[in-house]
């Protein structure tokens, strides 16, 4: 057993960043995720690992600092919550367009507008379908525990550098604020200049030696024919992610006649709802998408030979349910149950919704 602690999800994001060899964090305070930057400021990683931590003047500046840092082949990240992510949307699409690796953490709160500081999952569309302009995708990971807050920081960077694409941890105020037992990752050193040259030398803007062409970090190509070819390349990359990077968890699915589909904190609630429903004799399982893009479409389709109905449970008015319906394509009934505006559903409510909407009781 390694370094086991009792920590808040947000604090763990900061600790995991330091331990995975992150080079820079750039952020702006917003509830309910300010502990991430506060923890980094207390930890002073610049003295320990050399990691840069900077409070930017705005979310817009923070994401563009990430763009600058990512352009240098560095492991850089930012974090925010819903209204702040809207501000970062411009920078995120530029990162995707320039094919830069970076980590963006969204500790989602209820909206729209300034909304509430309480937890929600109403930014699924923004994270998975776009948010910024243009045909781009983020790699989106949805942690359901403080342990996964730890694990997904390193995983996000690995995937971001593998595909040269920004990755997002889509969490929410529940996971960010709650304390749980966590086994922290071991320390990894930051990449040296030599390692960066090895890993990202073909594109990183670190200063042009005489023996190579200049590296340019840009998303601009005014030639439509070239821009279309570039877009084909991006789409091929997204298809490769769909082939290789789908992650999900199945709970009590072996004999399931009904299915919950839920991610993040809703999945935790559904786990309890599975137990309660099974005590009532309802054979229900849970499929928890871990990657929201790429989405576990095939995993849902493979369940269709056994299940008679699916309830998508989200703390939103119904966003992920659209991807469940696309996967199911009308073969069995799919319904949505959600509380929103910062309200967290109880397991009892979820079981009741299953009975009413799927079992028709």
């Amino acid at each position: 057993m390694g370094d086991v602690r009792l920590m808040k999800g947000n604090e763990v994001i900061a600790e995991a960043a330091i331990r995975c060899g992150c080079d820079g964090y750039f952020g702006y305070p917003i509830t309910p995720q300010s502990e991430i930057m506060e923890t980094l400021m207390i930890r002073r990683p610049q003295e320990e690992t050399g990691m840069v931590v900077l409070q930017a003047e705005s979310e817009v500046a923070a994401i563009n600092m990430v763009y600058g840092g990512a352009s240098c082949g560095k492991k850089v990240m930012t974090s925010s919550s819903s209204p702040g992510i809207s501000l970062k949307a411009e920078g995120i699409t530029y990162l995707a367009g320039a094919e830069l690796p970076a980590l963006i953490v969204n500790i989602v709160r209820g909206g729209p507008g300034l909304g509430t500081i309480q937890p929600a999952q109403s930014d699924y569309f923004q994270a998975v379908k776009g948010g910024g302009h243009g045909d781009y995708k983020l790699i989106v990971l949805a942690p359901a525990s403080v342990q996964e807050m730890n694990d997904f920081v390193d995983l996000s960077f690995k995937l971001a550098f593998k595909y040269l694409n920004p990755a997002m941890i889509l969490s929410d105020g529940v996971i960010g604020q709650m304390m749980e037992k966590v086994e922290l990752s071991d320390f990894k050193p930051r990449w040296t200049a030599e390692e960066i040259k090895e890993i990202s030398g073909s594109w990183a803007t670190v200063g042009k030696p005489a023996d190579r062409e200049r590296n340019i970090s840009t998303s601009l190509d005014l030639d439509s024919a070239k821009q279309e070819i570039f877009n084909h390349k991006l789409q091929a990359k997204y298809r490769a992610m769909e082939e290789n990077e789908v992650r999900f968890e199945k709970i009590a699915c072996d004999d399931a006649e009904y299915l919950f589909v839920a991610y993040g904190s809703s999945a935790r609630i559904c786990q309890k709802a599975v137990e309660q429903a099974r005590e009532k004799g309802i054979k229900v399982g849970l499929l928890r998408p871990i990657t929201l893009f790429p989405y576990p479409t095939k995993a849902i389709q493979e369940m269709l030979k056994d299940v008679k109905g699916i309830l998508s449970v989200e703390m939103s008015a119904g966003q992920m349910v659209e991807d469940v319906r696309l996967a199911v394509n009308g073969k069995v009934p799919v319904e949505h149950f959600g509380r929103y505006g910062g309200i967290i559903p109880t397991p009892e409510e979820v079981v009741e919704a299953l009975e009413q909407k799927i079992l028709g009781k």
Partner: protein, 257 residues
């Protein structure tokens, strides 16, 4: 002897007193005739060459006419979203403190949409160089009003002349920046005569030397022309600039610490 061989003899290597730096690429420039960007690019390329810092310099290009600056100066470049170049440069400089990092921005990019980013980068005293090209108009989008457009100046969005009661006033952002304790060297230059170009080059040298000595932020405004936007010939543009721009945006060094 034909005319060509005569010319070749005159420009033979031993007779040359000046050559184009190899840091300036041979790509054909997209700038309009009379535009100041080409001269400024050349000055920056020469300074990088003479200081021997080509392999340690990272440029950040803006949105606007000089978005394609990366096609002309042979260094690594980052192309920023509109106005955000100082944020990119901040991270680049902090993550690689041994490098020379500069932004190259126009008046719309720096003084309008990127006002927050430049003010805060200056206030933090980032160890970078900022080249701010002020030609009092938006060039790339077709000649609209900029924050630095002069009172009464006709643009595509002030077709009856800029009315300051409606639009606010021409912004002296360089004076604002000079007030910030994070800045070390703040100067306003031009590039319309050989003498002016020499002064600009000296300022650019000093700015990059400041980076080398980790002195903080150096800010160079260059008052320039936009013949297409102003709808004047290159010669007339220079005259108009001297008559109208220089009195409002006086040349000289505001701060050198």
């Amino acid at each position: 002897m034909t005319a060509t061989t005569e010319i070749n003899k005159i420009i033979s290597k031993e007779n040359l007193v000046y050559g184009k730096t190899s840091v300036l690429l041979d790509n054909e420039m997209h700038y309009c005739p009379g535009c100041t960007h080409g001269v400024i690019h050349k000055v920056i390329a020469e300074v990088i060459d003479e200081m021997g810092i080509q392999d340690k310099t990272i440029g950040v290009s803006p949105v606007g006419c000089s978005v394609l600056a990366y096609n002309y100066i042979d260094i690594d470049w980052q192309q920023a979203a509109h106005g955000r170049a100082p944020a990119l440069a901040t991270a680049t400089s902090r993550l690689m403190p041994e490098k020379y990092v500069f932004t190259y921005q126009g008046d719309g990019d720096l003084a309008s949409i990127g006002c927050a980013e430049i003010i805060h980068a200056c206030n933090r005293g980032e160890n970078i160089v900022v080249f701010f090209v002020n030609n009092a108009i938006y060039g790339m989008t077709g000649g609209q009003m900029a924050p630095t457009t002069l009172e009464g100046q006709v643009t595509a969005t002030t077709p009856y002349g800029r009315d300051c009661k409606v639009t606010g006033f021409p912004m002296k952002i360089t004076e604002m920046i000079a007030m910030l304790p994070g800045t070390r060297f703040v100067t306003r230059q031009s590039a319309e005569t050989p003498g002016a170009v020499r002064k600009l080059k000296k300022a650019a040298q000093k700015a990059f030397e400041n980076t080398r000595e980790n002195k903080g932020l150096s800010f160079i405004e260059i008052v320039g022309t936009c013949s297409s936007g102003w709808k004047l010939s290159p010669v007339k543009s220079n005259e108009w600039m001297k008559e109208n721009m220089f009195p409002y945006y006086p040349l000289g060094t505001l701060k050198d610490e």
